[in-house]
Structure formats: structure tokens, C-alpha cells
């Protein structure tokens, strides 16, 4: 038997978890690019270092993004991956696919690239992993002809994403899919032609469980919530009481606001104290449902650590009704992006800009009122700025004296 050229990677072919090495080898059967990719990766495994050069700028006509340029630093050894760019294809909202659409994508990709993909990238795109520069435009043309378009990259709006929401989930308080799709279509220009100080991400979760990690990974987080009482189906409560579930211990005791009362028979929720954490509903989906008045909490500023440390998004609108065509929402997004665009430094995310200029300045600029829901607690340092109009001016004082 011939000695394997990838002894290290081969060790990742076994085991119960699906092996990416198998997929790479499968692609390598057809694609010399995939073949050289494995070889280069084997070298990385041996040397414990990556072998890609710092990306260059490549793209398709009319677009400023959607492609990540990539070149091997050992084209001498791995000529087929000398160019190895990826294309970010905007996924159908909610990552729903017909096999027809998926097969189409595969065919296009086999024609133009390595045959390797990521389903999906962390921002949500279908990633076509590895193609030569000369294939970019033809590949895009084929994609476009088949109804696909590119996602975002660079200092642009990035591909928005949404939890499955009303598509499958009983807790959806907003139509996460429609909102995401609507915004995506509305902002095609902002997505494809980078004009911002830096990247801008929007993610939509239809309830506070936040199944797309919107609060952690997007500059603009839309998270469904409700007003009014949690709807209780007493019959189903009885059923849970008769089940394994210990309502007192597992539900009430873990309620963060301790606003639930359970006497062994009836469940009472002091909804005024509830902070809509979802825990009780999560545990008793048949008996409890979110309140009827539905909308979203809007939060902004989430991001990873670079540069000023990671931020979670924070509340700027406690409750917004969201109905098509989502005018109020889009107006807000526009106002926020305009302000950021005007004041943001290069590579400064929205959250960092708010941190630098102050929430106070941000709120006034985008026309939002300050409400206590925006903070965990008011400030503890006394370094308070007053607006000029709150200060008595010498001339006014003179008038008063008269």
C-alpha cells in the first residue's frame, strides 16, 4: 500500500463525528484545488502554522464585497491553491432550502470552484470555499442567473440573519424571517457597496431565547418580546403537575424575578414583575404562552473584542411594534447608520462609537428618549454633562433679576 501523504489529517477521518477530512477528500477526487488544499493543510498540521497570505482585494463587477481574497504562501508546493478566494452567498432567510436550490448551488460551485463549502459561515452566508480569480465573475453570473446573490463583506452591512421564528416556533413574537428578508432586500446597496466606517450586522431573534445570538453578534439586534400577561392554560398546568416536572423547584424557584406562585394546584404569575426571560415558558410550552401584545426590543452595539473589548448589544427601544413595511424600524436603522457614518472613525463599530461619544449624545442624535430600561443601573460616577439649555445663562439671569 502506498504511504498516505496526509498521515496527520488521516487521523481525523475516523471517529463518530462527521469528518471534514472526508469531505475534503471527497472534493479532491474531482477538484485539484481541493487536493492541494488538503496537502497544504497537512503541512499546516505538521508545522503548526497557517499557509495563507494576507488577503488581497478581489471582487465582481458592481460590487465592493462578497468575496474574500486568499492566496497560498507556498504556491510553489500547492499551485492549485495559489488563488483560493471564497464567495459569500446570501442564504435564504432562516436557512431554509429546497433540494432543488441546493443542488443548483452545488452545480455552479463544481463548475467554478473547489467543490468545498461552509454551510454556513458564522454570519450566515453559504460560503463557497476556494476559487481562482478568473472564476469570480462567471461564478457570480451563474449564481445571479439562478436567483442567488452575494452577502456582505468589508465595511458594509453584513448578511442579516434570523432565527427560524414563525417558520417553526410557537414563541415567535415577531416575524423574524420576514423582517430579516425585508431588511436584506431593502439594504442591498448598503450590503454590496461598502461605504461604512466598518462592518454592520443585523440579526433578528423572534423571542428572548435569541437563537441567532443576536445580542452577542450584531450591531443592531432585534429581539421579539411581549407586553401583557403570560397566557396560562390551566389544564396543561395540571398535566405538567402530574408529570416529572417539579413546578416549584424547576420553574418557580428559577424564575429570576421570583414573580411566580405555585400552591401545588394553581400557577399565578405577577406579570408586572416578570422580565420576560422565557424560562417558565421554555419549560412548560404547552401551558404557557407569551402575552398577546407582541413586538420587539431593539438593542445596539454587540460585537467581538477587537478593538475595545467585546460588547453585548444594549437596549435602545424597549418595545417597538413591527409590522410590514417596517417603516419605523428602517427609519431608525437609517438614522443610526447615518450618525455612525458621520462620526465613526475607520474600523470603529457602532458600539464603540457610542462608548466613545456617550449614549446621551447618541440618543439625542437619533431622536430616542432616555428610559430606565436602557440601563442595568444609573451611573455611579458624578461626571454628568448638562445640556446647554438646562443651564442658566448670564443674560437670562440678568433678566430674572430685573
Amino acid at each position: 500500500m502506498e504511504k498516505s501523504k496526509t498521515p496527520l489529517l488521516d487521523q481525523l477521518e475516523g471517529g463518530k463525528w462527521p469528518s471534514f477530512v472526508k469531505d475534503m477528500k471527497q472534493a479532491a477526487e474531482k477538484s485539484p484545488m481541493a487536493k492541494d488544499l488538503i496537502s497544504q493543510l497537512e503541512l499546516s498540521y505538521k508545522e503548526k502554522i497557517g499557509h495563507w497570505k494576507h488577503g488581497g482585494i478581489v471582487g465582481v463587477k458592481g460590487y465592493g464585497g462578497g468575496v474574500i481574497g486568499r492566496y497560498s504562501d507556498r504556491p510553489d508546493l500547492f499551485p492549485a491553491v495559489q488563488h483560493f478566494h471564497t464567495m459569500r452567498v446570501n442564504h435564504p432567510t432562516g436557512w431554509f432550502y429546497t433540494t432543488k436550490a441546493l443542488r443548483k448551488l452545488c452545480d455552479i460551485w463544481d463548475k467554478h470552484g473547489s467543490g468545498l463549502t461552509n454551510m454556513h459561515g458564522s454570519t450566515g452566508d453559504a460560503i463557497l470555499l476556494g476559487m481562482k480569480t478568473d472564476q469570480l465573475q462567471p461564478c457570480f453570473d451563474d449564481l445571479s442567473d439562478s436567483g442567488f446573490d452575494l452577502g456582505g463583506s468589508g465595511s458594509a452591512l453584513r448578511t442579516p440573519s434570523a432565527c427560524v421564528g414563525p417558520g417553526r416556533c410557537e414563541w415567535a413574537c415577531i416575524d423574524s424571517l420576514d423582517i430579516c428578508y425585508n431588511l436584506t432586500m431593502n439594504y442591498q446597496g448598503k450590503m454590496h457597496r461598502p461605504m461604512f466606517p466598518y462592518k454592520f450586522k443585523i440579526k433578528v431573534s423572534a423571542c428572548p431565547n435569541d437563537c441567532v445570538a443576536s445580542i452577542a453578534r450584531s450591531d443592531f439586534s432585534i429581539i421579539g418580546t411581549w407586553k401583557g400577561v403570560i397566557r396560562i392554560d390551566q389544564k396543561e398546568i395540571d398535566a405538567y403537575a402530574a408529570s416529572d416536572l417539579d413546578i416549584q423547584k424547576e420553574v418557580c424557584d428559577l424564575c429570576p424575578t421570583k414573580c411566580m406562585e405555585w400552591d401545588g394546584k394553581t400557577l399565578k404569575i405577577h406579570d408586572g414583575d416578570c422580565n420576560r426571560c422565557m424560562h417558565c415558558i421554555n419549560l412548560m410550552p404547552k401551558a404557557l404562552r407569551p402575552g398577546k401584545e407582541k413586538g420587539a426590543t431593539i438593542l445596539v452595539g454587540g460585537k467581538a473584542p477587537i478593538l475595545e473589548g467585546a460588547l453585548l448589544s444594549s437596549v435602545i427601544v424597549p418595545f417597538m411594534k413591527l409590522e410590514p413595511p417596517y417603516t419605523e424600524l428602517k427609519d431608525l436603522i437609517d438614522r443610526i447608520q447615518d450618525w455612525w457614518d458621520e462620526h465613526g472613525k475607520s474600523r470603529e463599530r457602532l458600539g464603540e462609537l457610542i462608548k466613545r461619544l456617550g449614549m446621551r449624545v447618541f440618543l439625542r442624535a437619533v431622536g430616542l428618549p432616555a428610559v430606565p430600561q436602557m440601563v442595568k443601573a444609573p451611573r455611579s460616577n458624578p461626571y454628568v454633562f448638562f445640556w446647554p439649555e438646562d443651564i442658566k445663562k448670564p443674560d437670562e439671569i440678568a433678566k430674572e433679576v430685573k
Binding site: 471527497q26 488577503g55 486568499r70 424547576e250 467581538a304 477587537i306
Partner: protein
């Protein structure tokens, strides 16, 4: 010329009919068994979901195989999840078990629901990126092989969400994961001032450094790094290719724990440093696998039901976390970035261990 700005295909054209009929009118769900969800609409109709694992790095042929399966059992409808699992969507109950059987034959793990360990959100690593301090797919595969049982069962106190990022850019919700595996560099970038003038812009290079370690010389268009102030984040390399930072002998992995994203019970929180450094040992990263397994096992045996990793740790205290896991606490665990003082113990309330 091809049309631009057409946007993605309308998701509505991708929804199976049962979803179209019950869209926004779901009543409740049940997890029938690990990996199998049943959603009941107000109409009474049922939607079945079978969740299968994916390596995320998929070949087109693998995707076609998935399509074959979806066509056989699901009328050609499927979706992917926000953690890159595959979800087969069915309205015919009778096809559920045959589907699962076929998935078993084809070695697709079914699971990832409820109190399990779902797929690991991860990044590019040595497969495609230029700044990684480790590989992504490799450690994920090595680890999931070992904790596979937690994917196909639902026996943990609560969800355990693991994520991996290969550098500090953290392309993934790594900063808010129950367990985060993070590639880190540990040596200062090696400035090549012969190239800097051509490929780097001095002001943006200088301002890329979170700790102000870079000094620019505008006249000569060169930069110098103050080694003492550099914490190897690699951000300068992102903007200035002439400052490569990879160092095979010192790059490796750090482990972070206790983050979460959901608002369930406790507010979302960041992951905190558990292990500052573990070596890169491809192809199976045994130190990393062992370390993560240890944390999972300690958590599994100490946390109360429904208590996420971070909720458990906050209840018992970090001092107890370190004593139970036997992970050494070092001065590197103590924050020294800009909001460090917020993390200091400003009280006499603590446990002895």
C-alpha cells in the same frame, strides 16, 4: 451582464407546505427524543424535525447526499440551523423513523436538542484564514469525537454551547459561550519595516493597537512595537500585512467558560478565562480535548438542573470552580484591560476554595 442586487432567494419559496400553512401559528412543541422535534400548529397539524450533525465544511457531493435524503423523506425540504446542523423537515410521522434509520446507516449523528452539546460553532483556521493561531475544523472534530455522547443524548444539566475561534477576531459567538476555545498568539508581531512603507498605512496601523503598543514614524513610514505593551492580539497584522504574528512554537489555545446568549433565567454574559494556554498539538489536540472534557464532567456532576455553566459557576463562585476543576489560577486570569477594576473582588465575601 448578470443582475446585481437581486438579494437572496425568497425564503417563502423554500418553506415546506406544512410550514406555509401553519406559519406563525404554532401552538407548542415536544422533543420526542434527542434530535427529534415535533411542532404542533393551532390547526392541529404536526411538523417533525430531525436534526443531524454536520462538519460544516461540506463537499458538494455531501450536500447532494443530504439532498437525496431530504427528497426521499421530506419532499425535498430541509434547513440548516444557526449552529450549522442539518434539519430534515417532515409532515409525515411515518417517515420519521425510517429517516432516522437511514441517517444511522449513513453515520449522521442525530441529536443536539435539549440539554445536549450541539454542534460547535467554529471558524476557518488553517483551512482558509490568514490570522489563525490554531486550526478550527481539526480541534472541533477531535473534541466532538470524544463528547459525541452528549450530542446524541440530553443528559446534561442544561444546554452546553461550545464555540471555537482561531484568533482574537472571534468569528463566532465565542465570547458568549458555555465553553469557548480560542486560538491565541503569544509573541509580538515581527515587523518587517522593509515592507511596511509599501503595504501599510501608518496611522491606521498605529490606531489598530488596543493597548497603544505601536509607534509610527511618519517620516520613514515605519513602525516599532513596544514589546511590553503588546498582548499579541494580531489586530495590527489585520491592517498591516508586514507584521505577521503567527509563531508555531508559541501559538496555541485558551479556554473560556460560563458565557451565554439567551435571556432565559439570567442575562446574557461573556465567557471568562479558564485556561490561558494549551499547546497546539495537531491532529487531535489531546490537551484541549482533555481540558474541555474535564470542565464538562465537573459541570455535569455539580450543576443543578437547568443551570447553564455560567449560572452554576456564579452560584458556587469562581473560587469553587477553580478548586473543583483543579485548574490553576494565575495572574493572567485577572483582567488588566480597560475595565479591569469591575472584575476585582471589592468585598470580603468569598469562599476559601
Amino acid at each position: 451582464m448578470a443582475k446585481t442586487d437581486i438579494g437572496p432567494p425568497d425564503y417563502k419559496t423554500m418553506l415546506p407546505p406544512v410550514i406555509q400553512r401553519n406559519y406563525g401559528k404554532w401552538l407548542y412543541h415536544e422533543i420526542l427524543k434527542p434530535g427529534v422535534l415535533m411542532h404542533i400548529g393551532e390547526s392541529g397539524e404536526a411538523l417533525y424535525t430531525v436534526r443531524a450533525a454536520s462538519p460544516r465544511l461540506l463537499s458538494t457531493d455531501h450536500i447532494r447526499e443530504i439532498c437525496d435524503i431530504a427528497e426521499k423523506y421530506c419532499d425535498g425540504y430541509l434547513r440548516f440551523t444557526s449552529r450549522n446542523n442539518i434539519e430534515f423537515l417532515l409532515d409525515d410521522k411515518d417517515k420519521v423513523e425510517p429517516l432516522i434509520a437511514e441517517l444511522a446507516v449513513r453515520s449522521y449523528p442525530v441529536g443536539g436538542t435539549g440539554h445536549s452539546i450541539s454542534n460547535i460553532v467554529h471558524t476557518q483556521g488553517w483551512v482558509h484564514c490568514h490570522t489563525p493561531a490554531t486550526d478550527a475544523s481539526g480541534p472541533v472534530k477531535a473534541l466532538m469525537d470524544e463528547i459525541y455522547d452528549y450530542f446524541i443524548t440530553s443528559t446534561l444539566p442544561a444546554h452546553v454551547r461550545i464555540a471555537l475561534a482561531c484568533c482574537l477576531n472571534m468569528c463566532g459567538a465565542v465570547h458568549c459561550s458555555d465553553i469557548a476555545i480560542l486560538g491565541i498568539h503569544r509573541t509580538v508581531p515581527k515587523v518587517d519595516n522593509s515592507r511596511v512603507p509599501n503595504v501599510c498605512e501608518i496611522p491606521s496601523t498605529v490606531s489598530s493597537c488596543p493597548t497603544g503598543a505601536i509607534r509610527g514614524d511618519m517620516k520613514n513610514k515605519t513602525v516599532t512595537v513596544n514589546d511590553e505593551k503588546c498582548m499579541y492580539c494580531g489586530n495590527c497584522y489585520t491592517v498591516c500585512p508586514a507584521m505577521p504574528i503567527a509563531d508555531p512554537d508559541n501559538d496555541g489555545i485558551s479556554i473560556w467558560v460560563g458565557g451565554k446568549v439567551s435571556n432565559a433565567r439570567s442575562a446574557p454574559k461573556f465567557s471568562k478565562l479558564a485556561i490561558p494556554f494549551l499547546p497546539n498539538n495537531p491532529p487531535r489536540w489531546p490537551e484541549v480535548v482533555d481540558a474541555v472534557k474535564n470542565i464538562i464532567e465537573v459541570y455535569a456532576s455539580h450543576a443543578k438542573k437547568h443551570e447553564r455553566m455560567g449560572e452554576w459557576i456564579e452560584r458556587v463562585g469562581w473560587e469553587r470552580f477553580f478548586s473543583l476543576t483543579k485548574i490553576p489560577f494565575t495572574d493572567m486570569h485577572i483582567d488588566d484591560f480597560d475595565m479591569a477594576t469591575e472584575t476585582f473582588r471589592t468585598s470580603t465575601q468569598f469562599k476559601w476554595g
